[in-house]
C-alpha cells in the first residue's frame, strides 16, 4: 500500500496567526496557576541571590588565604556563612521543582476536563471522523507535553526578568568594565533566541503532528495486520512503517537542530563572557591593561566577577533549554485546540431552551411521574420528522423526510444499505443534526440528552467496553438491582453463553478478555436495552448474526418485553418485518 502524506508543513509556515492563537490560549490557561508559578520563580530568584553571596564569600576567602595570608580564626564566620548559603540554595532548588510541578499539573487536569467535555459536545458522528488513536494521543501525550511550559518555562521567564539585572547591579560597583560586558552580551541573548525560537515553534508543531499521525497510522495497521498478512502484504507494509519512522526522525531533527542553535548561541556568549572577563581581569592584575578600573583590581574582586560570569548566563541558558518546552507546548496546544475549536453539530435548542431539564422532559424516563405530572399527557412520545434533509458536503443522504410516529407504534424501517436508515436513526438520537428541517421528540426539538433518556438504542456495531459482561449490560444504570440485570441477560440470551464462562456474568470481556462472536456482542447490547426502562426502542439489525431458531426466540422476547413501547427496528429480515405493524421503506434518502 502506498503512503499518503499530508502537507501540513506548508499550512504551518503560512499560518502565523495560528501560532498566535495557540500562544494566547496557553497564556489563558496559565492565568489559573499564577500563584504556583510565582512561588517557583521566587524560589529560583532566591537561589540566584544565594549564588551571589556564595561567590563573594568564596572570592574573599581565597584572597584572604592566598594574598593576605590571614589566620584561620578570622575566616570561621565566612565558612559558616558559606555553609548557610549552601543549605538555603538546596532548599530553593527543591521548592522550585515542587511549585513548578503543581502549576503544570493543575493545567493538565483542567485541559483534560475540557477535552472530555468537548468530545461530548462533538458527538459520535464528528468524533468518528478522526482516528481514535490520534485522539487518545491528544488527551494523553499532548496534554502531558504542556507540563514543562507551566512548570519550567513560565517560572524561568520571570527569573530571567529579574536575576540578571540584580547581578549587573551587584557587579557594576565592583568593576564597571565587567558590568558593561554583562550588559552588552546579556540583552543580545534574548534577541538571538527569539530569532531562532520562532522557527523552532512552527517546526515543533509539525513534529507533534507527525507523532500523532504516526500513532494513528500504527494503530490502523496493527488492527489490520491479519488482513495484511492474508494478502501477503505484511512485510511490504514494514517498508511504510520504516518510511513513517524516517519521516518522523527527519521532522524531529529539523526541530531540534534549530532548538539547539539557540542554546548554542547562549553557550557561545556564556563561554566568551567567561573568557573575556578572565583575560581582562588577569591582564589587569598583571598591570598589562590600563582600561577602566583594571589597575586597582584585587584578587577577590577578580575571582568574584569570574565566578559570577557563568552564573550570569545560567538563567538565560536554562530558559533556552525551556524554550524547547514552549515550542513543544505550542505544538501540543495546536493539536488540542483543533479539537476544542471544532464546530459541534450544533443542535438547535428548543424555543424555551430547556431541553429535558423541565418536569415534562424528566418524566420521559419515569412512568410513575409521567402519568401524574406530565403536561403532555397521553400524547407523549410523538416523533416528528419535519421536512428533514441531510447532506455530507455534496453527498445528499436524506431528502425531504416527513414522518410521524405515535406512541406504541411498532415500525419496521426497511431499505437497502446506504438508503439512509442509519442516518435517520442518528438524527433521532441527536448524534447528528439535520441540514434542513427539524426532528421533534415529544414536541420538542430533539437533543442528545433528551433522546438518551427517552430512547434505548442498539446500534449495528455495539461497542463492548473493557469490563465484565455485567458492567457492559448495566451501562445505562450501574446501580440497577442484581436481579434486573440477570433478567435482562436471560431475556437477551446472554445467560446462555455466559453460563459457560468461568466467571459467568462477571467474566471480563472486551478485546482483552474472552473473544466474543458478533452474535454475542449483539445480545449484550440487547440486554442493555432490556435493562433500560425507556419509552422508545430503536434496534438496528437486531437479528444479524443469529440463526433461525435463536432469531425466533429473540423476536418473541422483543414482542413481549416491548409490548407497550414505541418500537422501531431497522432490518432486512422478512421475519422481523412481518411482525411489525407499520413498514417504512427508504430508497436513496427518500421515503417510499
Amino acid at each position: 500500500m502506498q503512503l499518503t502524506e499530508t502537507g501540513n508543513q506548508s499550512y504551518f509556515d503560512k499560518n502565523k496567526a495560528r501560532e498566535k492563537t495557540c500562544a494566547v490560549w496557553l497564556k489563558a490557561q496559565g492565568k489559573a496557576v499564577r500563584k504556583p508559578i510565582l512561588f517557583a520563580a521566587i524560589a529560583g530568584i532566591t537561589n540566584g541571590l544565594g549564588v551571589i553571596v556564595q561567590s563573594a564569600t568564596l572570592a574573599y576567602i581565597l584572597q584572604a588565604v592566598i594574598i593576605d595570608q590571614l589566620p584561620w580564626a578570622s575566616l570561621i564566620t565566612l565558612f559558616i556563612v558559606l555553609a548557610a548559603v549552601f543549605i538555603l540554595r538546596s532548599v530553593c532548588v527543591y521548592l522550585y521543582q515542587i511549585w513548578g510541578f503543581e502549576a503544570g499539573a493543575q493545567v493538565r487536569t483542567s485541559v483534560r476536563q475540557q477535552l472530555f467535555g468537548q468530545f461530548l459536545v462533538l458527538g459520535p458522528a464528528a468524533v468518528k471522523q478522526r482516528q481514535s488513536g490520534e485522539l487518545a494521543a491528544v488527551t494523553l501525550e499532548q496534554v502531558d507535553a504542556l507540563e514543562n511550559y507551566f512548570s519550567r518555562y513560565l517560572p524561568q521567564q520571570m527569573i530571567v526578568g529579574v536575576l540578571p539585572l540584580i547581578m549587573i547591579s551587584v557587579v557594576m560597583p565592583v568593576n564597571w568594565v565587567v558590568g558593561l560586558i554583562f550588559l552588552v552580551t546579556g540583552p543580545l541573548v534574548p534577541v538571538f533566541m527569539a530569532l531562532v525560537g520562532m522557527g523552532a515553534a512552527s517546526a515543533n508543531r509539525s513534529q507533534f503532528l507527525a507523532m500523532a499521525r504516526m500513532s494513528g497510522y500504527f494503530l490502523d495497521r496493527l488492527q489490520g495486520l491479519s488482513t495484511l498478512k492474508l494478502f501477503g502484504q505484511a512485510t511490504q507494509e514494514l517498508a511504510n512503517i520504516d518510511k513513517i519512522a524516517d519521516g518522523f526522525r527527519e521532522k524531529t531533527m529539523a526541530v531540534l537542530r534549530i532548538a539547539f542553535l539557540s542554546s548554542a548561541i547562549l553557550e557561545f556568549f556564556s563561554a566568551v563572557a567567561v573568557a573575556l572577563v578572565a583575560v581582562y581581569v588577569g591582564l589587569g592584575l598583571l598591570g598589562q591593561i590600563y582600561f577602566g578600573p583594571a589597575e586597582h583590581i584585587s584578587l577577590s574582586e577578580a575571582l568574584f566577577v569570574l565566578l559570577l560570569a557563568p552564573e550570569f548566563f545560567m538563567p538565560l541558558r536554562q530558559l533556552a533549554i525551556n524554550y524547547h518546552d514552549r515550542a513543544a507546548a505550542l505544538g501540543a496546544s495546536d493539536a488540542i485546540l483543533t479539537i476544542l475549536e471544532q464546530d459541534a453539530e450544533v443542535l438547535e435548542a428548543d424555543d424555551n431552551g430547556v431541553g429535558c431539564a423541565d418536569e415534562g422532559g424528566a418524566s420521559f424516563a419515569n412512568d410513575a411521574l409521567r402519568t401524574s405530572a406530565a403536561p403532555y399527557g397521553d400524547k407523549i412520545n410523538l416523533i416528528d420528522f419535519n421536512k428533514i434533509s441531510k447532506s455530507y458536503g455534496k453527498r445528499q443522504v436524506l431528502t425531504d423526510i416527513n414522518l410521524h410516529i405515535a406512541t406504541g407504534e411498532k415500525i419496521a424501517l426497511i431499505g437497502e444499505s446506504g438508503a439512509g436508515k442509519t442516518t435517520l436513526l442518528n438524527l433521532l438520537l441527536g448524534f447528528e443534526s439535520p441540514t434542513e428541517g427539524r426532528v421533534l421528540l415529544n414536541g420538542q426539538t430533539v437533543n442528545r440528552e433528551c433522546a438518551a433518556k427517552a430512547i434505548a438504542w442498539v446500534g449495528q456495531n455495539a461497542y463492548i467496553f473493557h469490563g465484565t459482561i455485567k458492567d457492559n449490560i448495566a451501562l445505562a444504570d450501574p446501580d440497577a438491582p442484581e436481579q434486573n440485570i440477570i433478567d435482562a441477560a436471560q431475556a437477551a440470551g446472554v445467560a446462555e453463553f455466559s453460563a459457560q464462562l468461568p466467571e459467568g456474568l462477571l467474566t471480563p470481556i472486551g478485546e482483552r478478555g474472552y473473544g466474543l462472536s458478533g452474535g454475542q456482542v449483539q445480545r449484550i447490547a440487547l440486554a442493555r436495552a432490556f435493562l433500560k426502562n425507556a419509552d422508545i426502542i430503536l434496534l438496528d439489525e437486531p437479528t444479524a448474526n443469529l440463526d433461525a431458531a435463536n432469531k425466533t426466540l429473540l423476536l418473541d422476547v422483543i414482542d413481549q418485553l416491548f409490548i407497550d413501547k414505541t418500537l422501531i427496528i431497522a432490518s432486512h429480515d422478512p421475519e422481523v418485518i412481518h411482525r411489525m405493524d407499520r413498514r417504512i421503506k427508504m430508497q436513496q434518502g427518500r421515503l417510499v
Binding site: Y217, L225, T235, V281
Partner: protein, 559 residues
C-alpha cells in the same frame, strides 16, 4: 537489566552515531571544566605575578599562552555542545526507528492466532510510548554514564597531580554523587516510574474505549460517569508523577548540597596545603575552581537513574509481547506448495486454551479441489474455528490438516496464505484511499483490473457518488462507508487476489437482501473452478455449493 541489555544489542547497527555522540559529550564536558579551571588559575597567577612585578622585579610570566588557551576552550565548548546535541539525538532517533520496525516484524508471525485477544490500544501503547521511552536508554543513561565515568576519572587524576589528598577526596565525593545518590533514588523511584507506564497504558485503553464507544455511552447516559472515571485515572497518573517529581526534587537538592560540601572541603584542604607550602597560591585557586566545575559531570545522573526504572518497565513490556510463541510456527524447512489444492482434515480436535473446553471434536472432512462446500449450524458451534484451522491460524490439538496431501505445518506460511481468498463478517478497511485499500489484494493491479473488480463487486454506483472517486479516503475502520459498501470492497479484493480457495465466513451477514443477492451473484461468477468453503446460518447462498454439512457443538455431520 536483561531486558535493557537485549535492546542495547539492537543498538549495534548505529554504533558509529552512538560513539560519536558520546565522544562529543566528553569533549564538551572536559572543555567546560578546563575553561573555568584555567581561568581561575590564570587570574590568581596574574595577581601573584602582579604583586611581584609591583615590587620591582621583572615580569617573568608568559600571559599570552593561557589567554589564547582560554579563548580556544571557549570556542570548542560552544561547538562541542551543539555537535553533541545534534549527534546524540540523531543517534537516538535512528535507534528508535530501528526498534519500531523490529517490533512490527516480530508481531507479524503472532497474528492472527496469538494477538487477536489483545487490545489494540495496548498494542499502540507498546508501539509508540514504550518504544519512545527507550530513548532514555542512550540519551539519558548510557551517554551521561560513560561521560561521567571517564570525566570523573580524568578530574581525579588531574587533581591528584597537584594535591593527592584533595584529588582523592573529590573523587570520592564525585563517586558518591554519581553512583550512590542515583542508586538510592533509583531504588526509591522505581515503583513510581513503573506505575506511570501501567497507568498511562490503562488511561489509553479507557480513552480509546470512550472514543470508539461514544455513541453507546451517550445513548445510555453513561458518558458523564465514564469521563469522571477517566478524570480519576488522570488524577492517579498526576499523583504518581507528583511523587516522582518530589523524589527528583530531593535528589537535585541533595546533589547540589553534596557538590557544595565538596567545594567547602576542597577550599579548606587547599588552604591548609597552601599554608604548609605544599601548594602554590595559583594552584590553590586552580584546585578550587576545578572542583566547582567538576560537578557539572554528575548533575544529570540522578534523574537519569530515575528514568532507568521507567525504561526497564517499557522494555519488559515490549519483550513480553515479542517473546510470545506464534500459534502456527513456521517450519524449519518449508516445503513448496503441492500441485493440487485438495483439502483434508483428519480427526481434528481443537481447544483455544487448556482452561477451555474443546471447540472442535474429532472432525474428518475432505474437500477436493474445485468442490464447493457449506457448513451450517448455530452460532458458537465452531464453524469459524474450523475455517481458521484450515487456514492455519491455529494448529489442531490432535489430528492434521492436509493441503494436496501435504501437512500444512510443513508449508511456508506466506505461500500457504496465498492460496486463500477470504470474505467474512468483518471487512477490514485501512485509513487510506479506496484505491489503496483495493491494491492491498494486488499491488500491481492495472487500472483496467481495478475497474473490473469495482464492477463485479457492484461498487460502481457508490464510487460514482463520490467526488474523488477511487481516491476517496476512508477513515478509521472505514467509518464513512456503510457495512454493505465495506463488504463490496472486500469482495473486490477477493476478486483481485484470485486465490484458488475461497473461504466465506457468513459472507452476507448484516446485508440487505439486494446486496446479498449481488454478492452471491458475483461469487457464483468468479468461483468457477475454485474451491469454496462457506460457513453460514442462512439459506441464501446455499445454491452456490454442492455439499452441505451440519455442525453442532464442535461435531460435524453430513446434512
Amino acid at each position: 537489566m536483561k531486558d535493557l541489555w537485549f535492546f542495547l544489542k539492537l543498538f549495534k547497527p548505529h554504533s558509529a552515531w552512538l560513539a560519536g555522540g558520546i565522544s562529543l559529550s566528553l569533549l564538551t564536558a572536559l572543555a567546560s571544566i578546563a575553561l573555568l579551571t584555567l581561568s581561575g588559575w590564570f587570574i590568581s597567577a596574574s595577581a601573584i605575578a602582579g604583586l611581584v612585578a609591583i615590587d620591582g622585579n621583572t615580569l617573568a610570566f608568559n600571559f599570552m599562552l593561557p589567554a589564547a588557551q582560554i579563548r580556544a576552550l571557549a570556542i570548542s565548548r560552544t561547538l562541542g555542545r551543539y555537535g553533541e546535541r545534534v549527534v546524540t539525538h540523531e543517534a537516538t532517533f535512528r535507534v528508535l526507528a530501528g526498534i519500531r520496525s523490529w517490533f512490527f516484524r516480530e508481531l507479524i508471525p503472532l497474528v492472527p492466532g496469538r494477538l487477536s485477544a489483545m487490545r489494540s490500544g495496548d498494542l499502540l501503547s507498546h508501539m509508540t510510548a514504550d518504544i519512545d521511552a527507550l530513548d532514555a536508554l542512550y540519551l539519558r543513561l548510557l551517554a551521561p554514564a560513560v561521560v561521567a565515568v571517564i570525566g570523573v576519572t580524568a578530574v581525579t587524576v588531574f587533581l591528584a597531580f597537584y594535591a593527592p589528598v584533595i584529588g582523592l577526596a573529590t573523587g570520592l565525593m564525585l563517586l558518591i554523587a554519581s553512583v550512590w545518590v542515583p542508586w538510592v533514588f533509583n531504588r526509591l523511584g522505581r515503583a513510581g516510574a513503573e506505575e506511570i507506564v501501567v497507568l498511562a497504558a490503562n488511561f489509553r485503553i479507557r480513552q480509546l474505549d470512550m472514543i470508539q464507544g461514544l455513541a453507546d455511552l451517550i445513548a445510555n447516559q453513561a458518558y458523564g460517569r465514564f469521563s469522571d472515571k477517566l478524570g480519576q485515572f488522570s488524577d492517579l497518573m498526576i499523583n504518581t508523577q507528583r511523587r516522582n517529581n518530589r523524589l527528583s526534587a530531593i535528589s537535585s537538592a541533595f546533589t547540589l548540597l553534596l557538590s557544595q560540601l565538596t567545594l567547602l572541603m576542597a577550599l579548606m584542604l587547599a588552604a591548609i596545603s597552601f599554608k604548609d607550602g605544599l601548594l602554590s597560591g595559583a594552584d590553590s585557586a586552580l584546585v578550587v575552581f576545578c572542583v566547582i566545575a567538576a560537578f557539572e559531570l554528575v548533575t544529570p545522573l540522578p534523574q537519569a537513574m530515575q528514568m532507568l526504572a521507567k525504561t526497564r518497565k517499557a522494555a519488559r513490556r515490549i519483550r513480553q509481547v515479542t517473546e510470545m510463541s506464534p500459534t502456527a510456527p513456521q517450519p524449519n524447512q518449508p516445503l513448496a506448495l503441492p500441485g493440487s489444492y485438495d483439502l483434508q482434515l483428519n480427526e481434528v480436535s481443537f481447544r483455544y486454551s487448556d482452561q477451555q473446553g474443546r471447540v472442535l471434536k474429532n472432525i474428518s472432512l475432505t474437500i477436493p479441489q474445485g468442490s464447493k462446500v457449506a457448513i451450517v449450524g448455530p452460532s458458537g458451534s465452531g464453524k469459524t474455528t474450523l475455517l481458521q484451522l484450515i487456514m492455519r491460524y491455529y494448529d489442531p490439538e490432535q489430528g492434521s490438516v492436509l493441503l494436496g496431501g501435504q501437512n500444512v505445518r510443513q508449508l511456508d506460511a506466506d505461500e500457504f496464505m496465498s492460496c486463500f481468498g477470504v470474505l467474512s463478517q468483518r471487512s477490514q478497511l485501512f485509513a487510506a484511499t479506496i484505491k489503496e485499500n483495493l491494491l492491498i489484494a494486488k499491488p500491481d493491479a492495472s487500472a483496467t483490473e481495478l475497474d473490473i473488480a469495482v464492477k463485479i463487486a457492484g461498487l460502481e454506483k457508490f464510487i460514482g457518488y463520490l467526488p474523488e472517486g477511487l481516491d476517496t479516503w476512508v477513515g478509521e475502520s472505514g467509518v464513512k462507508v456503510s457495512g454493505g459498501e465495506a463488504r463490496r470492497i472486500a469482495l473486490a479484493r477477493l476478486y483481485l487476489k484470485d486465490a484458488p480457495v475461497l473461504i466465506l465466513d457468513e459472507p452476507t451477514e448484516g446485508l440487505d437482501s439486494d446486496t446479498e443477492r449481488d454478492v452471491f451473484k458475483a461469487l457464483v461468477n468468479f468461483a468457477g473452478d475454485k474451491t469454496v468453503v462457506m460457513v453460514t446460518h442462512r439459506e441464501a447462498g446455499l445454491g452456490l455449493v454442492d455439499v452441505v454439512y451440519g455442525m453442532e457443538r464442535g461435531v460435524l455431520q453430513a446434512f
